[in-house]
Structures are given as structure tokens and as C-alpha cells.
């Protein structure tokens, strides 16, 4: 199980989702993607993307207007 750390600070829509999708292409089921962004839109956008792709939105934390979003890759066809 690998963790992909994706730093999207300083980017706004669609930057964080672009970075997330790029990391997802490399990831396997069971891996985690940790997306760090300062665009508040990244949280609902990642949530919506997870729902649509059957990946798991594990949660988001906020500190000093930086959002850390954790996603578990579960949607890929085995």
C-alpha cells in the first residue's frame, strides 16, 4: 500500500482535482492519496469526484486555511 502525497497549494480549481486525477492514474486499490490544497473548493470537488468514481473520501482537516484531504483508492477495477 503506497501513499501519494500531492501538494496543490497555490492552485485553484481545477488545479487540485487535476493533480488528484494524475496521482490516481498511478495508484492501485488500497493506496492512499493525500491532497494538500489551499483552495476551499478542493474539499467538495474531491468529495464529488470520490462519489462518482467509487473511491473513498476518508476526510479532510483544516489548519491555517490549508486543507488536507485523504482519499483511499477503492474504485479501480480489480
Amino acid at each position: 500500500m503506497a501513499t501519494y502525497n500531492v501538494d496543490s497549494r497555490g492552485t485553484a480549481c481545477p488545479g487540485p482535482i487535476t493533480d488528484l486525477i494524475r496521482a490516481y492514474r498511478k495508484a492501485q486499490n488500497g493506496d492512499e492519496i493525500v491532497l494538500v490544497a489551499n483552495d476551499p473548493g478542493a474539499v467538495p470537488d474531491s468529495k464529488a469526484w470520490c462519489e462518482r468514481t467509487r473511491n473513498q473520501f476518508m476526510g479532510s482537516k483544516e489548519a491555517d486555511r490549508i486543507f488536507e484531504i485523504t482519499i483511499k483508492v477503492t474504485g479501480k477495477k480489480a
Partner: protein, 397 residues
């Protein structure tokens, strides 16, 4: 003698060389400064014109110019590609050569190009208008033979250049088949890995109703995994399949191969630069601009141009012993044709989110003006116009 090396004679490399040649004309005449562009291409193409060639049958010769006619006096051309850059020791080497070309300043503007290795099967069946004028022309010839069938168009992977271009191709295909009276025989479906038809919500609000009105279907959050050319199916990473007869997908893009694995690029080869002055992080006299940077903005000619102005200004100022520093604003401006002589624009900066701009004939005309002035703009002839148009977004100082 200060040696300035530019890698790539595309949109970014040429405007940078033109502004440097203008600001440093005296020093070039006195042989205190040299500017050299490295690129094996003898010709350049107006890439936004690929859409017109592929979907409207425009003569490809109209969007091609010889590079020698695009450079300003004083700029030298070396028609060779670069295969190695050593930023610490300040030299580059061209393909197959052991000779070390030393430089005092370096600008990398090597663009981006389709990467078919990421999606198996895609190259075989795809009609790709992101490669060159010749292939775009072949697409038009193939479209002319389509009388009915299922068309799948859209984004196969990220990143790619010109974010609106996949949507434009959907609108232009719709227009083409309507004009032929064949639209009812042709199903058009747009696919995208984003959760919206256009990634930025403001533009999505503008174009979603047009998709509905024109009966262009859409499948969002679709991550293309591979294409099965025998079964004529696109397979997503999540196990969905989509049938197609004709494919017009925008592939994910890659950087020039010599950038991969260097200490100054990220794991995919995109060059790590400062988002304001474009210097390659940790090297103050080397820069990268345009598509090849890892900046989280559109890969588009407008960015390459405005970044080139910032870099050229700052290098010339330093050589002239001046303090004046420009800073790039992140300004983007990509036109999106919505068909039937209308267009919208995707406009934003680092600090301002993408605006909502309704499609109009005026916008379409503005796009056409850009086509007319493109080659002259590489010479720097229209900076007065861009300054007026972009206002505070032209650069910060």
C-alpha cells in the same frame, strides 16, 4: 560576452528571443551579448489552427511558417535538438554531439506533446488534433467519409495543452454534421475525468446548456484506462465501457524527454519554476516557460507569451544593470469556440478565479483577430495591444 541560450522555437521561445533582441540590440551589435535558439524544427505551426484544419478543412499550409522568418535580427538559430542540460556547470549539448555549449542565461521552452504510452490502444484508433497540421488534415479527410455512427470525443488523460480544445472539438463536430445534414445519424458523446463537462464551474455553467441544446451526450468522471480496438470499446479504470465507431480523444501530454530524471524537474519531467519570475528553483539565471513548466495553470500560448515577456525583461534589465523586475500574474486566456461563429473565453489569473463569459460573436471575432496577428506577435509587434488588453494582468512590477 553574455551568452543567452533558448531551447525551443515555439510560442514561448520566439517571443522571449524577440524581446531580448529588442531590449539588448546595442549589446548584440557590440558583440557583448548573443542570443541562440536551439530547435531542429525548420517550421513552426499555429497550433490553435489544428482545430480549423481538422474540423473545417482549412488548408494546413495556412498555419505553417518557416522559423527563419520568425526571428528578429541578431538572434541565431541552431537547428538541432538539445539532449542534455547541466545547470550547475552552465552548458548544454545537442543530440549526438559531445561539444559543450556554455551559457550565462538559459530559457527552456520545449512545450508538451501527446504521450500515448499512458493509454494502450488509444493511438491506433484516435484522431488526434494535438499533434501537427499534417495529421489534423488527415482527420478532416476521415471525417468527410463519416455518414453515421458513434463518436466519442473528450479528455483521455491529464495534463494536456489548451484546456478548452476537447470541448471545442465536440462543438465543431456537431456543427460539421449539422451542416452536412447528417447530425441525426451521428451520436456524439463527450468524456472527461472531471466531474463537470468543463472543469471550472463558471465555464461549465455556460456550456452545459449548449451540450443539451445540441444533443451532445456527456460522461463525466470517466478515467480512460485503455482502448480495446478489436471490440471498439473505451475502458475506464473503474470498469465502465463505452462503445465507439470514431474516436477524437485528447491524450495526456508529456515533456521533452531530456527533462525527465533531472534534479530540476518533477517526477513526470515538468520543470519546477518560481510561479512569479519563472526561474528554475535553485538556479537564478535559468528559466523555463510555457507548457513545459510544472505550474498549475493552463498549458496555453498566452501563458507562454506573457511568461516570455517577464523573463526577457528581467534578463535584459540585469544585463543593463537595472533593478526593474516583472512578475507573472498567472493570466490565462483560452478561447473556446462553441460552434456557429460564437466563442467564450477561459480567463483567470493566480488570484482571480475563472470568469463566467457568455459565448458571443464578438468573442469569436476576437479569436479570429488573434489568428491574424499571431505570427507578428511572436516578433513582439503587438505588445502595445496586449498591454492594453491584459491591463494589470500583463505583468506586475
Amino acid at each position: 560576452m553574455k551568452k543567452i541560450a533558448i531551447i525551443g522555437s515555439g510560442a514561448g521561445g520566439l517571443i522571449t528571443s524577440s524581446k531580448l533582441a529588442k531590449d539588448l540590440s546595442k549589446q548584440i551589435r557590440n558583440e557583448e551579448v548573443s542570443i541562440t535558439i536551439f530547435d531542429r524544427n525548420l517550421e513552426q505551426e499555429f497550433q490553435p489552427g489544428y482545430l480549423e484544419v481538422a474540423f473545417r478543412g482549412t488548408d494546413p499550409a495556412k498555419i505553417i511558417r518557416r522559423v527563419e522568418g520568425l526571428v528578429s535580427p541578431g538572434v541565431k538559430l541552431v537547428y538541432e535538438n538539445v539532449e542534455k542540460v547541466d545547470l550547475a556547470d552552465r552548458y548544454l549539448q545537442t543530440e549526438g554531439s559531445k561539444e559543450k555549449y556554455g551559457f550565462d542565461y538559459l530559457i527552456i521552452s520545449t512545450g508538451s506533446s501527446p504521450d500515448y504510452k499512458q493509454i494502450s490502444g488509444l493511438r491506433e484508433d484516435n484522431m488526434d488534433f494535438h499533434t501537427d497540421a499534417y495529421n489534423s488534415n488527415l482527420i478532416y479527410q476521415r471525417i468527410s467519409k463519416i455518414k453515421s455512427g458513434r463518436i466519442v470525443v473528450g479528455i483521455a488523460g491529464l495534463p494536456y495543452k489548451c484546456p478548452p480544445s476537447p470541448n471545442e472539438s465536440a462543438f465543431m463536430l456537431d456543427e460539421y454534421f449539422r451542416k452536412q445534414g447528417l447530425r441525426d445519424n451521428v451520436e456524439i458523446t463527450y468524456i472527461t475525468p472531471f466531474t463537470r463537462i468543463y472543469s471550472a464551474e463558471s465555464i461549465n455553467e455556460v456550456i452545459e446548456p449548449i451540450y443539451e441544446k445540441r444533443s451532445i451526450g456527456s460522461v463525466t468522471a470517466f478515467n480512460t484506462d485503455y482502448v480495446d480496438t478489436d471490440r471498439k470499446e473505451i475502458n475506464s479504470m473503474e470498469g465502465e465501457t463505452l462503445k465507439y465507431d470514431y474516436l477524437f480523444l485528447t491524450p495526456p501530454h508529456k515533456t521533452a524527454s531530456f527533462l525527465k530524471g533531472t534534479e530540476f524537474s518533477d517526477e513526470d519531467g515538468w520543470v519546477k519554476v518560481d510561479r512569479r519570475d519563472l526561474h528554475i528553483t535553485s538556479y537564478g539565471d535559468s528559466f523555463a516557460i510555457g507548457d513545459t513548466t510544472n505550474l498549475p495553470i493552463s498549458k496555453a500560448g498566452v501563458e507562454a507569451h506573457l511568461e516570455g515577456i517577464v523573463v526577457a525583461n528581467n534578463i535584459a534589465a540585469e544585463i543593463n544593470g537595472m533593478e526593474r523586475k516583472y512578475r507573472f500574474t498567472g493570466r490565462t486566456q483560452c478561447s473556446m469556440e462553441t460552434g456557429f461563429h460564437k466563442a467564450t473565453f477561459v480567463v483567470g489569473t493566480y488570484d482571480k478565479p475563472v470568469e463566467k463569459i457568455e459565448p458571443s460573436t464578438m468573442n469569436y471575432m476576437e479569436k479570429k483577430v488573434m489568428e491574424k496577428i499571431y505570427w507578428g506577435s511572436l516578433h513582439g509587434h503587438y505588445e502595445w495591444l496586449f498591454k492594453y488588453h491584459f491591463k494589470e494582468d500583463y505583468f506586475q512590477d
